[in-house]
């Protein structure tokens, strides 16, 4: 309960800080929308030249992209760990965090969250709706529950991978470029995996499981059973990756020596 209170306090402070620069907020919304609509434009242009992409029609691929935006937006809201190395290790902010009685990862997450990114969820639902409007989807009562479970699973996959990569900074204070590399791999997850070759499919499923963020769950919601088992695995994969990441983080915190003064 105390954690929740702290969380709302952080949120309030954040909103105050953000609202001081209202124009920035508007600009952020607009740039998010632009980047999302460009990905959509790409899909639409591609389907001007083909009927199917690896057996998926335009509406289905749009639906998959829309679904992908849900975990992506939630991840972007809470896990802005991109500048962790600069801010917390090199500038030494982590020392301040460690003197406080709340779990260090939780503090870092709360200090770097951007609630305005949540708007991406709305965009995602609209895109999904647009995709679904061209399809004859039979939704049962449990599909919305699965949708939420899958989304949480996807967020955990993303969070797990990037927390694990961030905790590398706790072991070594030299900069690594592995985060942006993996980030670019994550873009593969929003397209049907069966268009990629076997090695890429394997990587996206078992090593950097970004296919669980977008494609597998979305294919299940599209009533395409071929990947049913993978879709059910989504929450499990999410929990496993997240748990490993938290373990790595905790070990890293114990290992952390500071970057000097």
């Amino acid at each position: 309960m105390a954690q929740l209170q702290i969380f709302t306090q952080y949120l309030k402070q954040y909103l105050k800080a953000r609202l001081a620069y209202r124009l920035d907020l508007v600009v952020k919304f607009i740039t998010d929308l632009i980047s999302q609509s460009f990905n959509l434009i790409f899909i639409l242009v591609v389907f001007g030249h083909t009927q199917t992409l690896g057996g998926w029609n335009q509406s289905e691929v749009v639906f998959i992209y829309g679904y992908f935006l849900l975990p992506w937006a939630i991840f972007g809201t809470f896990f802005n760990l991109w500048s962790f190395n600069d801010k917390y290790i090199i500038k030494g902010e982590l020392d301040r965090v460690l003197t406080r009685p709340v779990h260090s990862l939780l503090q870092v997450i709360m200090e770097s969250m951007t609630p305005e990114s949540l708007l991406g969820v709305v965009t995602g639902l609209i895109v999904m709706g647009y995709g679904a409007s061209g399809l004859d989807l039979q939704w049962t009562w449990y599909d919305p529950i699965l949708l939420i479970l899958f989304t949480i699973g996807g967020v955990l996959v993303y969070a797990g991978i990037f927390i694990a990569l961030t905790s590398i900074s706790l072991y070594t204070d030299s900069k690594t470029d592995i985060q942006p590399i993996v980030f670019n791999v994550s873009n593969y997850g929003r397209y049907p995996v069966n268009i990629f070759n076997r090695i890429v499919q394997f990587v996206l499923t078992w090593m950097l499981p970004f296919a669980f963020v977008g494609f597998y769950p979305a294919s299940f919601l599209l009533d395409r059973g071929d990947w049913r088992i993978y879709a059910y695995l989504t929450p499990v994969v999410g929990i496993v990756y997240f748990a490993i990441a938290v373990l790595l983080w905790n070990r890293g915190i114990r290992h952390y020596r500071g970057a000097g003064n």
Partner: protein, 264 residues
């Protein structure tokens, strides 16, 4: 005068060289992005021999070459200018005995030269091992390509200068810089060749400078344009580099008058 700008290029080149390790990861990132689009387009072709005059191989080659060319022409001059306006150091730059904009252009060129030698060329070699691409061996096509690429660089630099200078009027344009990046990537033909867009859009894009950045150089290399087709394409690039240069100059003259150094 020229010796001074040569020095600017040299120093930026050496500066980049000091951080060369950063570029190995860049090559990996570009290879990953190229891969995503190569796979996607292969799925689009799925058996069709050619689309919009591109064969599958040509398409893969187009993607690879336009990403690696992007490494050459891409720079953050817009952000640098915006930041220098923000922190006020532009005031010092303006009173120095050189032309601020020209120095920026040549810094960008030094950076581009560095990336061409240590990023694009090794990157292209690596990518051609991984993906099915085919590069021409005709030296005259390569010469045409490099001339066209240079103009692509000039047009891109001018776009960056214009966007960066808008910071004079807006004081905070981080969002505009982001939006511009997406816009240039899409409209320059980096992600989708212009000829794949619906007719209406192609007609609109024909009036925009962005195709001069990426589409024209890449098509020049991939299709091996003959002189009668290449010269008009060059004409478009040349015209845009002049028009945008004039626009830059106009904004610059006006911007200096409205300069407010924040916190100064």
């Amino acid at each position: 005068m020229l010796a001074m700008y040569r020095e600017v290029i040299r120093i930026r080149f050496l500066m980049m060289l000091a951080y060369r390790v950063n570029y190995y990861s860049g090559i990996i990132i570009y290879s990953i992005n190229i891969g995503a689009y190569v796979f996607l387009w292969q799925a689009v072709y799925s058996g069709k021999p050619s689309l919009e005059g591109f064969s599958v191989i040509q398409m893969s080659t187009y993607i690879a070459i336009s990403w690696m060319a992007r490494a050459f022409y891409y720079n953050n001059l817009d952000r640098e200018i915006a930041e220098e306006i923000r922190d006020g150091s532009v005031a010092i730059q303006i009173i120095r005995p050189y032309n601020y904009l020209m120095v920026k252009v040549f810094q960008g060129f030094g950076e581009g030269l560095f990336r061409l030698l240590l990023f694009s060329i090794p990157g292209m070699v690596i990518v051609s091992f991984i993906y099915p691409i085919q590069l021409t061996t005709d030296p005259s096509v390569w010469i045409q390509f490099f001339i066209s690429l240079l103009f692509g660089f000039i047009v891109n630099v001018e776009v960056n200068l214009i966007v960066g200078l808008f910071a004079f009027f807006l004081l905070n344009n981080q969002g505009i810089l982001w939006a511009k990046r997406f816009l240039v990537d899409l409209l320059s033909g980096l992600i989708i060749p212009i000829s794949f867009f619906p007719e209406v859009f192609q007609k609109i894009f024909a009036f925009l400078p962005f195709q001069a950045i990426s589409y024209i150089p890449s098509v020049t290399l991939v299709k091996g344009l003959d002189i009668s087709k290449w010269l008009p394409a060059m004409g478009i690039q040349f015209a845009w580099s002049i028009i945008l240069a004039l626009l830059c100059w106009g904004i610059w003259v006006k911007a200096r008058k409205t300069l407010i150094v924040q916190g100064g």
